[in-house]
Amino acid sequence: MANKSGKDKDKEVQEKLAGAGKSIYKQIMNGENPSYELPVRTLGNIYFDKNSKTIKLGDKKSSRQFLNIAHTRKFMQTMLVASEIRKVIDEKATISIRDLYYALKHTIEGTNENTFEDQSESDPIVEDIEASLNLLREELHLSASSKGVITGNMKIKDGKDTIDLNKMGSGGWGVPSNVEPDRIEIKDIDAEYVLFIEKDAVWKRFNEDLFWKKNKCIIITGRGQPSRAERRFVQRLNREEKLPVYALMDADPWGMYIYSVIKQGSISLSYSEEKLATPSTKYIGLTVSDVDTFKIPKEVTIKLNKLDVKRLNEMKEYEWFKKKEWQQEFKLMKEREIKLELEALSKKGIRFITETYLPEKIKSKDFLP
């Protein structure tokens, strides 16, 4: 990515927004039904790009029209969001998408209806604008709340502050919502790989055991489905620092899907996955075959439920899961009808996961692609 200075980028963004506004204005002045185009963000319009190895948005566009009762409300909301973003950039501020929601929420004159009833109405509009203008949320001076934490042998320069991630105690460093190079600088890194852990509780175990110190790695968790800040930061560690990334997830369809989001992206953010995904990520575990390899007692496995099986069947068809290793894993999971949580390894001892399981897995390079 060309690293433009903030000012130049702002100017470019403002021009794009102004252009969109002008186009709507022109249509209205010409007496036309005002409309704008935006890419379709559904499973039907995404594809797996073999070059970048990420999910990408297809060419399908839809037109959102003011004079279409199914679109009118969203059309109005899009205009409001675009206009607000312009104001925020003018004021050189950055606001959260929650701030944005509250800033724009008001009762429409003469009705008892609000412009936005819920943040779930304004969030997708932000994504629409990102996708149609091909801009990142951060470039629009918007931030989503982030929830992930990271620690390891490295320093971070955040504005004027330099933070030593070595000395973050039990809590770790909270990943900020904007981790773009102009905000966050990575310094003095001394690690051999990045470990992306699905669950916070497991991440805490690894931190408490100082796993990152003993094994020279960076540990990060997104506390479930990671937000884009965590994913973007891991991508930077991978690209800029050439660190391999390993994922440690529950052995269930949800954990495996989160892995796929880290590796090649999600459907709803498919328009910006090139800037978020880390295609070289490897899946360390858990897998169903771990049950045999590590002699994990049967009683700590969980029976698959209907929803799991349904999800499994869907995922089996995703192009990025077509590799034979994954198909085999899915098959095995379906045959045995079990899933396994990371915490289940505690049955073999509290430190089994950090002292036996992971070192052995990395040593034997027992990964899924």
Binding site: L17, F66, M79
Partner: protein, 580 residues
């Protein structure tokens, strides 16, 4: 509503209709009052709200029948006042022929004196035990007599007070006085305790409203305990033809009915009794029966017992009879229903259909009348009765008005074939999006000499396959005829909503675009409003063009669906015949 809860549990205990024989037997062994107290639920006098409705029903039915018989246009005045907690006084006045000093006692003071069991006729009065039962109920609950004024309109007016001697089942008349005043008709005043007046779907007001709808030739005035007066005006001036009595068809008779008929028979032999008392019963049939039974057909019919009657009924089922005659069926008629619904429900759209007679269960004739009324005062208000606030659109719920032989059925709706048929229809197909919350009144009159009631309460019609099918066809036909109006109205509403939506969002859009471009908001808004109005105009024009064609299209499409259903039904009945 608490009073209605017990209804369901008590009703389950009733297994079969009680016969006059059994009643008479009981009268001898116990006092009538005792019997009455024990058997209230069988007589329709249970549940505090239901009892009051049943009482009103008994009196009104008598008045309507009497005026009809005397060819007088009925004028009914019902007044109810609250005397204390669950204590009411009811006055019912009609303009009928009145009663004579000789008949008044029998009519109002002797239980089962006027029962119609030996006269198979499509009649209103099928539930309850008549006015005498009401007299007794009043007496038991209050200890007071019933006051009666009767006049023929020719100077002969008298008043009296009446009670029943429960031991002898005989009327006791006191204070008999001649009155100078001219009066034609009958006025009854009685007091009741343990009853409750409610303005509910099962209360007296709703009962009278439905009675008025089924009897457009009657004028009914009701003053409720709060002093509120409701007048259901007469909307037609012709008195309906009386249904002709017919002999029972052998297929429809039960064992105890057969015994009862036999006891009252003048015939000397069972064979002639069967020929005399039953419809479609010829020599050939009698001969066939004689071959199927184990006793002598020359036996005195008055002496046949339960087992022998059972044999005969069993034989009836095995023999082919000509179907019952349909000329005893008396529908209200499309014109009459239309007139009364227009007068009382005042709907925006209305369709009424009286179907041709059909048969169920292999031979019982029945006929179905259906009306679907939409808009106006159709449907039940859910805002509460006295809280019509201004400016707030009244919320309406669909209501089903069930009738059997013109008598309203207010109870046990869930178990009724009519309710089942209404619920089985895909109302969306007829433009009704949410059937439960539509301003819709569905009127159904089921006509038959043998109404297949589900229980002795006689408030729900059994879901015989042919009955439900016929009801469905009738309902679909009626719904089809008003579908277009409903769709049109909905579209009109949608159009308005669309316009409102465009306009309210236009202001927001104009402001945002103005902020983005720095152009004046007023100018943008004005242009945007022009765009909206232009679009709506074009849409309307297009719709009008399409409408001319699609009117017929809708009609055709709906017609096809009804025909398909009819064909299905034909196939089914053919199959059934082959099997038979």
């Amino acid at each position: 509503m608490a009073g209605e809860k017990e209804v369901k549990t008590e009703e389950k205990k009733v297994e079969r209709p009680i016969t006059a024989e059994e009643l008479a037997k009981d009268f001898r062994e116990h006092s009538v009052a005792e019997f009455f107290k024990k058997n209230r639920q069988m007589l329709g006098l249970y549940g505090k709200i239901r009892t009051l409705t049943t009482i009103v029903h008994e009196y009104c039915t008598n008045s309507l029948d009497a005026t009809e018989e005397a060819k007088i246009l009925p004028d009914l005045e019902i007044k109810m006042s609250e005397l204390g907690t669950e204590y009411y006084e009811l006055t019912v006045k009609d303009n009928g022929p009145g009663l004579t000093k000789e008949t008044v006692g029998k009519a109002l003071g002797m239980l089962l004196a006027g029962t119609k069991f030996h006269r198979m006729v499509q009649s209103r009065g099928q539930q309850g035990i008549g006015a005498a039962g009401v007299t007794l109920f009043s007496q038991i609950t209050t200890g007071k007599p019933v006051k009666v004024i009767s006049g023929t309109g020719k100077g002969k007016t008298f008043s009296l007070e009446l009670t029943i001697d429960p031991k002898k089942n005989e009327p006791k008349i006191i204070n008999l006085k001649d009155i100078e005043k001219q009066f034609q008709g009958l006025a009854i005043q009685a007091k009741f305790k343990d009853v409750l007046y409610r303005v509910s779907e099962q209360g007296p007001l709703e009962y009278l409203r439905r009675t008025a709808i089924a009897n457009p030739h009657a004028q009914i005035t009701f003053v409720d305990p709060f002093g509120e007066k409701t007048v259901f005006k007469r909307s037609l001036n012709d008195i309906p033809e009386k249904p002709t009595p017919v002999k029972p068809h052998p297929r429809g008779v039960t064992v105890d009915e057969l015994i009862t008929l036999a006891k009252y028979s003048d015939s000397r032999k069972v064979g002639s009794f069967l020929k005399n008392e039953f419809d479609r019963m010829g020599d050939k049939a009698v001969e066939e029966i004689s071959r199927k039974i184990t006793f002598d057909m020359n036996k005195d019919p008055r002496k046949i017992g339960w087992e022998e009657a059972e044999e005969i009924v069993k034989a009836f089922k095995e023999i082919q009879f000509i179907a019952p005659r349909v000329d005893a069926l008396r529908p209200i008629g499309e014109h009459r229903i239309k007139t009364s619904l227009e007068s009382i429900v005042k709907p925006e759209f209305l369709s009424v259909i009286t179907r041709k007679p059909q048969v169920y269960s292999g031979g019982f004739p029945f006929q179905v009348e259906v009306a679907v009324a939409f808009g106006g005062e159709a449907g039940r208000s859910t805002n509460g009765n006295n809280e019509k606030k201004e400016g707030i659109e009244e919320l309406k719920r669909m209501e089903i008005m069930r009738f059997a032989n013109r008598a309203p059925l207010l109870f046990d709706g869930g178990a009724c074939a009519i309710t089942k048929a209404v619920n089985s229809i895909e109302w969306k197909r007829y433009g009704v999006q949410d059937i439960d919350n539509a301003p819709l009144t569905i009127f159904v009159n089921f006509i038959s000499v043998y109404v297949p009631y589900t229980s002795a309460g006689k408030q729900a019609i059994a879901d015989e396959e042919e009955v439900v099918e016929e009801l469905r066809l009738a309902l679909m036909d009626a719904a089809r005829r008003i579908a277009r109006h409903i769709v049109g109205k909905r579209k009109e509403k949608e159009k308005l909503e669309k316009k409102r939506m465009y306009l309210k969002y236009a202001t927001e859009v104009a402001l945002a675009v103005s902020e983005m471009t720095g152009k004046p908001k007023a100018e943008i808004e004005k242009k945007l409003l022009n765009i909206v109005m232009k679009r709506l105009k074009i849409e309307e024009e297009e719709e009008n063009k399409v409408n001319d064609v699609s009117d017929e299209e809708i009609e055709k499409q709906l017609e096809k669906e009804v025909k398909k259903e009819e064909k299905k039904k034909e196939k089914k009945s053919k199959k059934g015949k082959k099997k038979g």
